[in-house]
Symmetry: C2
Amino acid sequence: MADFEEPIERLIEYFRSLPGVGKKTAQRYAFYIIENNKEKAENFAKAIVDAKEKVKLCKECGNYSASEVCPICQRRNKQIICVVQEPKDIISMEKVKSFDGVYHVLFGCINPLENKGPNDIRIKELLARVSTNDVKEVIMATNPDVEGEATAMYVAKLLRPMGVKVTRLAQGIAMGSDIEFADEITLSKAIADRKEI
Amino acid sequence: MADFEEPIERLIEYFRSLPGVGKKTAQRYAFYIIENNKEKAENFAKAIVDAKEKVKLCKECGNYSASEVCPICQRRNKQIICVVQEPKDIISMEKVKSFDGVYHVLFGCINPLENKGPNDIRIKELLARVSTNDVKEVIMATNPDVEGEATAMYVAKLLRPMGVKVTRLAQGIAMGSDIEFADEITLSKAIADRKEI
């Protein structure tokens, strides 16, 4: 038996469908909606519909955007493209502030276990961008795991013949971390890529 | 500067207003909406508006209900009233299954620090219920903290002259817990209320 009557139960179910939300959390969210005023609920609902309706993919980089070309692609240096797996990776990159190039979202990486091949992610769009624009460097910022590495290598192999410099984010021990707790793979990578100081 | 364009940022802000939701979590929720289909977004929005519009307080117990009188008040034994602070406490109580009485939601407890006096919670509604119905017992299930205790004592003092039995949930060490880790107040309560076996 459902714990609540239909309108509450239905709202709880929708909140539960959000990533990482369990039953208790969904209940808290639903109660919050019910306890707040009607205007807030209506605006919340409108925000959901608006975001879904108005947000499309930027036709250049593939990031979520309310305009045809996203603000980053409109303003920044197009000679450097940073390739990421997901739109949320751009948020992290943007926090750094020092990067003034543009992005390219692959929407995933090559992952045979999930049946994701090179044609299932936005690789050909990247090649098209590089071939039609005066791109000097492509920074591969895919995740430092097996699939992310493989994708970076695969894309690099396709780009190099086009005369573009392809780089990869440095890998090694994280700043502020502790060598004692660093895993072997990270540590071996840090040793192999050691720099003279 | 906002990390996102207006429709995304606005949706993130609404998700952030939910209890316990931070920036990162709100972003994940917003991206989930954007990544899913339009129908789902519209139904989600509708669920929010519907819940807010249709859910009122049950005119008897004060719990959230889509009907004038909630399903619990419609069906169950009205001679026993269990008094709780919040609607969500009813969910926990209902899991027990052994209770077949009805509830009364106070919506808070007497809390001078938050300027909440006896008239700010639903005490007079409780007195009205007890005086007009044939109530045999009122179980005070307010929280076992200072405010909850004080509220239970206050309400009990008002109810006793009306000839109704007032009880309080037993307090003591939690089942499955460890005496080693029990706090002093709980333990002293458990000793004071010890039972012959």
